[in-house]
Amino acid sequence: MPIWEPEKECVSRDELQQIQLERLQATLNRVYRNVSFYRRRFKEVDFHPEDDLAELQDLERLPFTTSEDVSNSYPYEMFAVPLREVVRVHSSSGTQTNPRVVGYTRQDLNNWSTLVARILSAGGVTQDDVIQVTFGYGLLTGGLGIHYGAERIGASVLPTSVGRTERQIKIMQDFRTTVMASTPSYALVIADRMEKMQINPRTLSLKYCICAGEPWAEAMRQEIEERLFVKFTDNYGVSEVMGPGVAGECLEQKGMHLQEDHFHCEIIDPASGKVLPREEEGELVITTLTKEAFPMIRYRTGDLCRILEEPCPCGRTFRRMSPIRKRCDNVVVIKGTNIIPERIGDVLEELKGARPIYQIVAVREGHQDQLEIWVEVTEQFFSDRMREQRTLVEVMKEKIANFIGISARVKLVETGSLERENGSVRLFVDRRLP
């Protein structure tokens, strides 16, 4: 498969280090000048970018930026350019009280499209393809991120967005879709539905499935490939950092190439914050090297992975990250949305003024993930009139859906029936994996 920007993606490691250093220095000079949050943070550790960043390793002196920091900067506090230079704004799912808002300059969008084009190319997409984007459009980065990259390649883009599975399948048939961009679980939902509709996937034109958005297992990759007759590649994005385009797998299917000329990546021990030796598993920390509107310095992604140093047979010199199998914090990823279990409690508490005892349960039905919230009935959360009781459940569902952006089932359960550990209820139970 052709490499989108061979002169950049196959650059020598020495030159890459120099490029990273140059871009990092420019980035730090800019955030120090333009973002009071970073200026304050840098001063706290007595770090002056112009004097103290002689080597890439000097970055380790700087504190981390967390999703909470971003949340607290709501909405524009951490922007590094005036709003008039910002041409796009995205916002992440509301895992914190405030959503995390990110901005893009014209040049940021340009880079973003190029990076996604690189990743789609690596996954097999060319200008002759018809790509169906089943990620959500709107404030989340998934849909538009993939969309612009696919347009950059010159593929024909079908912005079908999420849901309406039968319509997706009809479009896939009639428009002769060759590439599907989706979450791994949605790829299987499509496969299941086609089986039900008695459509033979062989009659489709599908060749590639570009997946992202949730943890998956190798068996799942195999199942998708076998049932849909596609080649599956994984890619990785973080909306605070850019969205899709941070890393993507090539057709060797041996880990995702980090776009290292635009992102500096470290692996740290999530407990101590120390940078770990090469190839060890830990939390991925990313620093943007070219972002203008919303630079991120040492952002803790919360995702656990390893960085593979070994050169890839595809010829790209960028190192690869292993697939994300789990997170190192209590964030729950379901349907591509990040949820912090405690925040659900906050929402429920707002309703009646008291925090109910509750548990978040992720279940998988067929290949579809479902979010369930089990709430123990107490006096506040109980009414002997059925109608009021139903209304309460409806209100809870609505509040939660509004807050996290996906719908959840709310179940009222008997007092004391939720599974307890050392006397307290586990906030999250994952019943998705066998």
Binding site: Q18, L21, E22, R23, Q25, P49, E50, T105, Q107
Partner: protein
């Protein structure tokens, strides 16, 4: 070809370059733009060995040169077209060219051959080969300065403000020459105040501000960049006045 890493240069107590890094790859035309006093010429002087950096590393053709004097750097394959041209005004055009080939002085044939090529390339210099260089016009002097530098057969050509003091039409001519040199596969570092002209022909560029690099990227990208346009290309000035 050339790698500058976190270089700090001082004039006495004045901190002129504050951790500047840049690189020029083989066959690239890289430009460095910035306002007066941003540190552009300091960087050139530091690269060429006229001033020594207090901290940082400069690597040319894989060897560290940050503590070498100019006379050791030139034979390694770097030639400078200095700011203000600095031609030998009291020598003839021919002698100026010969001086440019000084490091190859034992190879008489090569010098003759190169000189013929330069005079062929710039017919105006050929016409004036016996004239004293000081009698040439600004544009002609600049052509002479460039040819003189090329006489050293450099691997890297460093041009410091070649458009300075030249009429717009002449500037255009000089940039055409620089562009041609790039097309011939030469490696060039171009330092310029004329941001638009420089970015137009450059593969990549760096924007220097108060001794620091604040922007870098491909030439066309910088040309379109709103910050560059406002600060160096005079765009948007009207809006600001109106507002």
């Amino acid at each position: 070809m050339l790698t500058v890493k976190s270089v700090h240069t001082y004039y006495g107590n004045i901190h002129a370059l504050k951790g500047v890094s840049l690189h020029v790859g083989k066959g690239e035309l890289v430009t460095l733009i910035g306002a007066n006093g941003a540190g552009k010429s300091t960087l050139v002087n530091t690269i060429c060995g006229l001033i020594q950096p207090r901290k940082g590393m400069i690597e040319f053709q894989g060897k560290p040169i940050q503590s070498l004097p100019p006379e050791s750097i030139v034979p390694m394959g770097m030639a400078l077209v200095p700011e203000g041209r600095q031609i030998f005004a009291t020598l003839t055009v021919e002698s100026n060219l010969q001086m440019g080939g000084y490091i190859h002085r034992r190879k008489r044939d090569q010098i003759q051959e190169d000189m013929a090529r330069m005079l062929d390339r710039f017919p105006i210099l050929n016409q004036r080969r016996q004239q004293l260089a000081g009698t040439l016009s600004g544009g002609e002097q600049q052509m002479l300065a460039i040819s003189r530098a090329l006489m050293a057969r450099p691997q890297l050509l460093v041009l410091d403000e070649p458009s300075m003091g030249l009429a717009p039409l002449v500037t255009k001519e000089i940039f055409k020459i620089i562009h041609e040199l790039r097309e011939e596969g030469r490696t060039i570092l171009l330092i310029e105040q004329n941001a638009r002209a420089a970015l137009n022909i450059a593969d990549r560029g760096y924007v220097l501000e108060t001794g620091k690099v604040v922007l870098q990227g491909e030439g066309t990208m910088l040309l379109e960049h709103s910050e560059v346009q406002r600060a160096y290309l005079g765009k948007g000035a009207k809006e600001i006045v109106d507002a």
